[in-house]
């Protein structure tokens, strides 16, 4: 392979792209994820109405079934409306934005925390390593959803009541982020322990670089590919965790509904026959979680041929 070729050219000839094209399931999941992300990012432009704007709601439009004109106002909604006459399609698009935002930032938080702790544990060794890894051992004894609930509950207790709804999203991100750092730390620690014995690290140490610089500039780039795999799989977990917490009523507040909150609202109307309020948000969540999961599985197989 000649070094002169452009980055794009190299990408076009890579095994990575070849493998990607050969797996139709992966291509479909990738397209779904990209579409959902675009929808979430451009929610203001794409959504027919703004579901947070109370002025645009018309109570007469409540409980309109999908694709049928409302009996009073004659308006038609693609996916119907909820009890307050809110257009469900818009609510889902904006809910998708909340779900993806919480999921992505929580994963970034978990990644930064886990990778730093893993680097330090692997590079320093000794009692620092024991301390960090023991903490990780204790934390994985408990399911992460339980830990997230607990952190959420403690944070609610510490915050004054009027700030609880305002800061709910931030608290949610911290709770999920803190509950998912262990896999990152374990993997990075393992790779770091291998990498730090290699010659390039010894050379860097010989020319007098500080350990911080060696960790970040020299070791970190070499431990990143497993981190990418874990991040994708954790993203699916974080999205599901967020939806679960919001569904249970201890997550996103009703003023900023995520997909989980929408499903919670929809459950109330299941018995009176308004199935669309529940099923459309549920289907969106399922499509998102399943596609991210499949992408993660595929990435793991590609970047880690040994695990195949």
């Amino acid at each position: 392979m000649s070094a002169k070729k452009s980055l794009m050219g190299r990408f076009r000839e890579s095994d990575f792209l070849y493998d990607f094209k050969r797996s139709p399931v992966t291509v479909v999941s990738f397209v779904i994820v990209v579409m959902l992300i675009l929808l979430a990012v451009f929610a203001d432009l794409v959504a027919p109405t703004n579901p947070f704007d109370a002025g645009s709601l018309n109570l007469m439009n409540g409980f309109t079934p999908p694709m049928q004109p409302n009996a009073f106002t004659g308006e038609t909604f693609y996916l119907g409306t909820d009890d307050q006459g809110r257009d469900l399609l818009s609510a889902i698009i904006f809910g998708l934005r909340v779900s993806l935002f919480v999921g992505l930032t929580a994963v970034i938080l978990a990644m930064v925390l886990g990778v730093s702790l893993g680097l330090i544990a692997g590079y320093r060794g000794g009692w620092v390593d024991s301390l960090i890894m023991r903490a990780a051992d204790i934390q994985v004894t408990f399911p992460s959803i339980l830990i997230a609930m607990l952190i959420f509950g403690i944070a609610r207790g510490l915050l004054p009541p009027h700030m609880r709804d305002e800061l709910a999203i931030t608290v949610l991100i911290i709770a999920i982020g803190l509950s998912e750092w262990v896999p990152f730390a374990r993997t990075v620690r393992g790779t770091t322990m291998v990498e730090k014995e290699k010659e390039y690290v010894q050379a860097a140490r010989l020319i007098g670089l500080g350990s911080g610089q060696i960790m970040v500039r020299h070791i970190l780039p070499n431990v990143l590919s497993p981190v990418l795999v874990i991040a994708t799989i954790t993203l699916a977990l974080a999205i599901i965790a967020e939806a679960t917490l919001s569904f249970l009523g201890v997550g996103a507040p009703p003023t900023e509904p995520s997909l989980g909150t929408l499903i919670r609202i929809g459950q109330d109307f299941l018995f009176s026959g308004e199935w669309w309020i529940l099923l459309f948000p549920a289907a969106t969540l399922l499509a998102l979680a399943l596609s991210v999961n499949l992408l993660g599985d595929w990435l793991r197989d590609i970047l880690n041929p040994r695990l195949k």
Binding site: I138, T141, F142, P143, I145, L146, M149, L150, F152, G153, I154, R156, G157, L158, A236, I240, A243, T244, F247, L248, G249, V250, I263, Q267, L270, F271, G273, W275, L278, L279, A282, L285, L286, A289, L290, N293
Partner: protein, 328 residues
Amino acid sequence: MLLIILRRLGQSVFVLFLVAFVSFMMFRYVGNPVDNLLGQEATVEQREALIEALGLNDPLHTQYLGFVTRALQFDFGNSYRGAQPVADMILERLPATLELALVSALFAMLFGVIAGVYTAIFRNGFSAHLIMSTSLIGVSLPTFLIGVLLIWLFAVELGWLPSFGRGETVQIGFWSTSLLTVSGLKSMVLPAITLGLYQMTLIMRLVRAEMLEILRQDFIRFARARGLPERVVYFGHALKNTLVPVITVAGLQLGSIVAFAIITETVFQWPGVGLMFINAVFFVDIPVMSAYLLLVGTLFVVINLIVDLLYLAIDPRIRDSQLKRQST
């Protein structure tokens, strides 16, 4: 060997103390016990008196020891809402959660093993493929969504089963059971499936993988050569040898069944400790949260300890590696 067991025990006790410390810190600092007991209009003198009476001026380690001692006597203080003793609330609701966990674990075990054996024996059949691919979707579905979809199908559309609550219960001593009434059993079906589905797919995949591995081995071929009927080969020889890893995984999963019971209980409004915990988080009822943490923490530590000790007893290789690490 004794040394390893003692060390493992010591580790568990340490984790228990850590869990107790976290719940103590929550109890003591997150919620303000004085404000919650007295309300806003109390005078300074009343506050001082209560602080003294509760021992909140004592040194921290004395307070911590007091907290642990009281917890060991099953005294977790009173709930902020309703001022009921937390211990009573837990005792009242524990049977509901334990029955649900037990039934769903049995469901997962029974159907997981049956489906696993079936898909291993007919591994190229159409229905085996169908079961395997459906299980993949089942794993990706969040628990609460499974519950909601089951309610939609079986309670709303078909109207076969109740969608919430425990049905009628029968009181046996302090234990209230819903397993002895028809409405109780009917109410159990959907929550038990919701809670056990994930474990079932896990056990099914494990049994299938282990069976495929074992069916290739010589003693199976020998058993067939002896002219034993297929039924005996599959169940007497092959399945028996898959059970050790299956039981370990099932044991480890007991802990997560308790954790996921929180979700299932909320979906079905099942009056157990999980629903109590979620309500406590929602209303910031700190004593209930802290007691729940202590209870579930202890449960997890004990389960892990038992599994680890069983490993030591069963597998000599683990024992040896531990001994080696000790000598270096």
